[in-house]
Amino acid sequence: MAEEKIGDTDVQIPVNPTIPSGDQSVWADVSPLLQLACKDLHDGELIHGENFNLFAAMSALEIMDPKMDSGIVSTYYSVDEAIEKGAAPVPLSFDRTIDIQCTIDIMDHLLACEATWHKGHSLAQTVFSCVYLLRPDRTSSHALLHSYCMVVRATCNALVSAVSDVRTNEEEDLFTLTYGLPLKGDGDEKCLSVLHAIDETISRQLRACKAPSTKRRVLEDIEPLQTNPDLEEGFCKAVLCRLRFRKHFYHVLMCMRRPQGKGFELARKHITSCLSELDSMLKLEEFLRSNNTCGTVRDATEEATTASGCRPIGFDSSLNSRLSAPTPPRAIKLLYWKEAVEYFKKLLNDLQVICSYTLDPVLEVVLRFVVGFQKLHPDLVARAYLQLLLVQDGKLYGRDPVFAVIGKASLLPDVIKNHDLQKNEAVVQLGQLVTNLLRILCTNAAWQRRKLGKILQEWRIIHVQLEMAFKKEFGDTLSTSNDENVAVKICNQILIWVEEQTYWIATRFLTLGFELELYSPSDYCMVYWYIYVILIKLAEKTHVKMMRSNDNGRRKGKKKRDSKDAKDYQIPPAVVLFQCQIYLAEGLVMMLAALRNEYNVFQSLGPFNTEHERFLQHFELLQKACLPDHISYFSFKETTNHARLSTLSMYNCFKDAQRIAKELRITYSNDPEKLNELRRIEQVAEHNVVALNLVCRLGTLDPSLKIYFEFSHHPYFASAVVKRS
C-alpha cells in the first residue's frame, strides 16, 4: 500500500493488482488522492515538489482534453473489446461475394496504411490499426485474409530490420518503433509458400470461370471464389494481382538484402513484376468500384483508401493509442489508395535504380551515383537499401576494403592494396570517415546537410593527423618531392586526396542549402562567393592530384616523351568542368554585387545586426574548419564592393562559362550525366547574359523593371529573370 499525505489527511492508495508491476514500481489507483487534492487545488495550480519544477510541469497532460488525453479518444478499451463488439468478424460475411469484396478492401486499406507508415507515421497508428493483424491466430480459418496478413507482417518486419540495420537518424526513427506490436506471427516465415498455394487455388478458379461451358464439366469440382458467376473473373483477378504484388515485393526485399548486390538481377525481375501487378490493380479499380458493397459510387475514388471506395472493416486507428505514449497521438491522415499505389511505384522505381547500379569501385563514381540518386527524392526505405548496399561489414559493397577505395581515389596504382600503411591508426580512422561519409550521403537532405557540416572539421583534423603520422614514419623525406620512395608518394597522394574530398564535402554542404531553401535572395551574393572560393580550391586539389599521379605513371614509363608532354599538356577535363562552374559562380557574385551596389536591391537590413553576422552564421562551420584558410567576411566585401554593371558587360564570366561548356561537350560526348550538367550550365549562363544586358541597357531608364532569381535550369545555379511589373 502506498501512502500519500494531502493536507492533514492520510490517504490510502490501493495498489492495483491487475496491472503487473515493474522492477521498482507498482501501479496504484490515484483516484482517491486526486479527489482529495481537488478540494485543495484550484484550476491550473500544481503541487510543487523538489524534483518537480515548472519545466517538468510542461509535460503534464490534461486529462479529458481530447487534444492531449490519448485515452479518451479510443473507441475501444482494448483489442479484445473491439473483437467482442464485432469490429473484426471472421469471416467478414457469410455471403461469400461480400466476404471477398470486404477482404479486398482490407488489402487496399492496408496498402494505404503501409505507404503512410513509410512516409513517416508510426506503425502502431497505420498498419497495426488492423485488428486482424493484431490477432494473427484469429484469421486462420480464412485462408486468403490469413495469408495476406502474414505477408504484410513479414514485409513490415523485413523493412523494420533493414531500416534498423542502417542505424538511421533520430528524425526518422519513428519508422522502427514497434512498441511490442506482434510483428512476428507464428509461421510468418512460411508466408511465401502459403501465398503460393492460395495463388494456385485462385488461378484454378479463374481458369474454371473462363473456360468454355463444354469444358466446365471437367472442372466442376472446383469451387468458385464467390457465388456470383458474373463477377467471378473480376474478383479472381483483383485478388490475384494483390497477392502477387505482395509476393514479388517480399522477394524484392529479400533479394536486395543479399550481400554485395548478388541478388540485384533477380530483384530487378521481381520489381518489374511488382510494377505490372500494380498496374493490374489500377486497371481493375473500375470493376471494384462499380461492384462494391457499400452501394455508394463515389465520384472521386481518389479520396478513398480502397479501390472500391468503401470503408474497410476491421480497422481502428485509436486501438494502439496507449502504446505510442508518451506523445499524445494525433489523428493522422492516411494516404488514399491511389496515392499509396503511386508511392509504391515510386519506391519500386527507386529500388530499380539501386539494383541497376554497377557497383563501381571508384569512389568518385559512387559519390556521383548517390548524389544523383538523392535528386530523385527517395524516401526512407529506398535510402536505407542504398546504404545497405554501399556499406557492408565496413567495406564498400561489402566487397572492396576501404583502403583500396582510398588508394583508387588517390589515383594510386592497385599494387598498394596490401601496403602496411593501411594498419596505421590515422589511416584506419580515415577509412571510418569514408564509410561514415557514404552513410551520411544516404540520409534525408536536411539531416545530411547538418551532418556534412559537422564532419568537415573531422576531415580537416584527419589531414593534420595523417600528415603527422606520415612524418613520424618517413621523417622529412615527405617533403622532398622527387624522391623515388613509393611509400612517400603514397602518403602525398593520399594527403592531397583528403583535401580534395574535404572541399567536395564543403561544396555539397553549400549547394544543399539551395535545395533546402535555406538561403534568401539577399544571401545569394555571399553564398555564391563562398561556393566560388571553395570550387577554386576543389579544382586546384583535383588538378594537383591528377598531375602528380601522371608524373608517377610517366616516370614508370621511363621518360619516353618528356619534352613533348610539356608542350602538349592539357588541363584534365574534370578540372575544366570545375572551371566552368567557377565562372558561373563568379558571374553570379558579380552580378548580384553590382545590383546591390547600384540599385540597392537584395540587401538585408535588419534592425539588430548586419550582413557580417549573417555571413558568420551561414559559414560558421566552414570558417571553424578553416575552409579555406584566410577567408573572411572582409575578403568577400573586398571582392564585391566595387562591382559595377558597366564593368561586368565588358568582362562577362557567363560568356566564359558558356564557351567552356560548349568545348567540353565533345570531351564528354559519351557521358550523358556530364552532358546534362554542361547543358544546364549553358542555359543558366545564357539566361544570365540576357538578363544582365537588359538591366545594363534599361535599368536606369525603366523604373518598373523587376528582377528575381529562379532555379529553373540548375538545382543551385540561379537564373536571373527580368520583368516589367
Binding site: 510542461m58 492531449m68 513517416g120 539588430f608 545586426n609 552564421q617 529573370v721
Partner: protein, 188 residues
Amino acid sequence: METEKNKKDDEAEGLGLPRIEAKRYLQGSGVEYVSYGGEHHLPLIMNLVDQELSEPYSIFTYRYFVYLWPQLSFLAFHEGKCVGTVVCKMGEHQNTLRGYIAMLVVLKPYRGRGIATELVTRAIRVMMESGCEEVTLEAEVTNKGALALYGRLGFIRAKRLFRYYLNGVDAFRLKLLFPVQRHTNISR
C-alpha cells in the same frame, strides 16, 4: 513548383528607386504594448494562442514561460482587447546565453499592421540587453508570413528540420546573431 511562383511575388526586387522601408505601424491608432503583468494576463495569452496555433499547450506550458521570464512576454491591446502576444525564454546553450521565441500570435483582423513586428522587436531588445548572443525559433517551412517577418528582422534559416511537426511538415530553425563588440576584442 508552388514555391517558385511565390518567390516571384515575395522576392522580386524593383530596380527603380531604392526601396523605402514602409513600416505600417499603427501609429497613433491606439495599439498599446505591455509587458506581461501577472496572472490576469495569462488567460488572455492562452486564449489567443489556443485560437491560432494548432499545438495543444497545457496551462503549465504557459506558466513555465511567463513565470520564469515575465520580462520576455508582451501583449498588444487594441481598445482594451488583447489582439496579439509573444512568449519567449532565454537560457544557457553551449556556454552562450540564447533567447528563444516560443509563441507569436496576432488575431487575424489585426494582421499586416506591424503588430507582430513590434511585439517581437520588444522581446528581442530585452534579450539583447540581457546579454544574449543570439535568438532562435522554429517555424514551419510553409508559414510564409512568419518567415518573411523574421527574415526582415535579420533572422537566417540556419537549418531545416525534417518533419519537425507532428503534421509531417518540415521546419526551419531561424537564428538571429547579435553583433559582438569586435573592436574591444581586437584591442586586447
